[in-house]
């Protein structure tokens, strides 16, 4: 279909899966981290904040290499995981999802945190006087009010994950059917004469996917905004 080779189709589907899984698994962690950073005071907060930004600051290759050293089968976390659970990230699509999730994480975190910080805390107070403990308050007030930011975070992370290349290829290499995502495939095509057209075609697929995701998020956002707008 559309003249894509089976390998390319595999890469497209894999990219979708990797970006989706990376984003969705990262989401709850981002929610917790964003909440902690927005609301709590604890020693080492700035340090944690800084560490969570690292994937943004470091060249992706460095992040990928670091993941390889940590979550590779010889890595100090990867080894534990493999020996205790028999689970490994290395050279699996799960590793690609990890890399993409890690790279997109800071973006998601920041957007969500920004939204948490913008919430009128008097509404949370009101919820507590009505009998909601902090969990319920979070679920029924904080989260719904922060939804536009969560949505932006998700879309940023997803988009980033779709485009992520340096960390992925460094961590889990570029194995067709397992870890070759769209950007890796594009990279490979740019490395040989005559691959430009195919690279371009794959880039277009990325764009289309991102566009669809964006439009979806936009529609959702408009609905949410309409719901929680303080003024029509």
């Amino acid at each position: 279909m559309f003249g894509f080779s089976p390998d390319e189709w595999t890469a497209i589907l894999l990219s979708l899966r990797v970006a989706t899984v990376g984003t969705l698994v990262g989401l709850p962690i981002a929610l917790v981290a964003a909440y902690a950073l927005a609301r709590w005071r604890f020693p080492g907060k700035v340090l944690l904040d800084g560490i969570l930004h690292l994937p943004l600051v470091l060249p992706p290759v460095v992040t990928g290499y670091f993941l390889l050293l940590t979550f590779g089968r010889q890595g100090f976390i990867g080894k534990q995981l493999y020996e205790t659970l028999g689970f490994t990230f290395s050279f699996r699509w799960t590793g690609a999802a990890l890399a993409c999730g890690v790279m997109g994480f800071p973006l998601m975190l920041r957007a969500i945190r920004l939204s948490f910080e913008a919430i009128d805390r008097r509404l949370e107070t009101a919820a507590s006087t009505l009998g909601a403990n902090s969990w319920w308050t979070f679920a029924l007030v904080t989260m719904p009010l922060a939804l536009p930011g969560v949505l932006v975070g998700v879309i940023l992370c997803f988009a980033k994950a779709l485009g992520e290349f340096g960390a992925t290829i460094t961590f889990v290499s570029n194995i067709p059917g397992e870890t070759e995502t769209i950007p890796s495939a594009i990279y490979t095509y740019t490395q040989v004469p005559g691959g430009e057209f195919q690279a371009f075609r794959l880039a277009c697929v990325s764009i289309v996917i991102a566009m669809v995701a964006l439009i979806l998020s936009e529609v959702l956002n408009r609905r949410i905004q309409k719901r929680i707008a303080v003024f029509e």
């Binding site: 590779g72 290395s90 050279f91 290499s173 095509y189 490395q191 040989v192």
Partner: protein, 240 residues
């Protein structure tokens, strides 16, 4: 579903990205003749070497230069007896198609003058093989000192090629195999073989290859004239 097939009918190859076209075709032909499927992961040689060090499930490694093959060999990650030099390549000086420049590569040739205030596009001279070979050649020819400050180092050969093809840089040094396929550039001259260390793509079977037998079979196939043809077609030279 375990995608890294461990059965003997499938091999995983870690190969330098510049080999894609030739190796893809060779692997396809090999699959037909020997019904061994091959999965090929293309990336930079350094990334691949480090992944092999971290236990990547590969059977064969093809590096774009000797350094990274030496690196994995020193760590005892390959079967020493299977290593050999698969391919060679030639370095060429290129210019945009429309450029009137004429140069003969000789000792002290006026490269700097030909550049004017333009840049010489090369792959990274510290890290990318083509860049390393190129700077070695220029040094040997005695012109490196003059042009050193005019070099624009790209991420890889293809990016250097793009700089020349786009007319950003008036001259560039790339592999012949790349230059041949780009219609927007022309080859000004070829660097002589003795002006730089030999350009070599070494290949080896990895020490903990899961399908060592099939891997060896594939390497044998690459040595046959039929296998070699795929590489010569893309502009590589086959080493004996």
């Amino acid at each position: 579903a375990q995608a890294q097939k461990t059965d003997a009918s499938s091999i995983t190859i870690f190969a330098a990205a510049s080999l894609k076209n030739a190796l893809d075709n060779a692997a396809k032909a090999f699959e037909k003749s020997a019904s061994t499927k091959s999965v090929i992961s293309y990336a930079g040689s350094s990334a691949l070497a480090k992944q092999i060090e971290q236990g990547a499930p590969a059977d064969i490694f093809i590096s774009a230069d000797l350094d990274w093959m030496d690196y994995v060999q020193k760590k005892k990650l390959i079967k020493d007896d299977t290593r050999f030099n698969l391919l060679g390549n030639r370095l060429v000086l290129i210019a945009p198609k429309s450029s009137p420049v004429e140069l003969k590569i000789t000792k002290d040739f006026p490269l700097s003058a030909a550049l004017g205030d333009g840049r010489l596009a090369m792959a990274n001279v510290k890290s990318v093989p083509a860049g390393k070979y190129g700077s070695a050649a220029l040094e040997k020819l005695g012109v490196w000192g003059e042009v050193q400050s005019k070099v624009a180092q790209a991420d890889n050969v293809r990016a250097a090629l793009a700089l020349v093809a786009q007319g950003e840089a008036p001259l560039g040094i790339v592999y012949e195999s790349d230059a041949a396929a780009e219609p927007k550039v022309k080859v000004v001259d070829v660097f002589s073989e003795d002006s730089h260390p030999p350009i070599i793509y070494p290949i080896a079977v990895l020490a903990d290859a899961k399908s060592a037998a099939a891997a060896s079979a594939f390497i044998q196939y690459l040595k046959t004239p039929e296998g070699q043809a795929f590489f010569t077609k893309e502009g590589f030279t086959v080493l004996k």
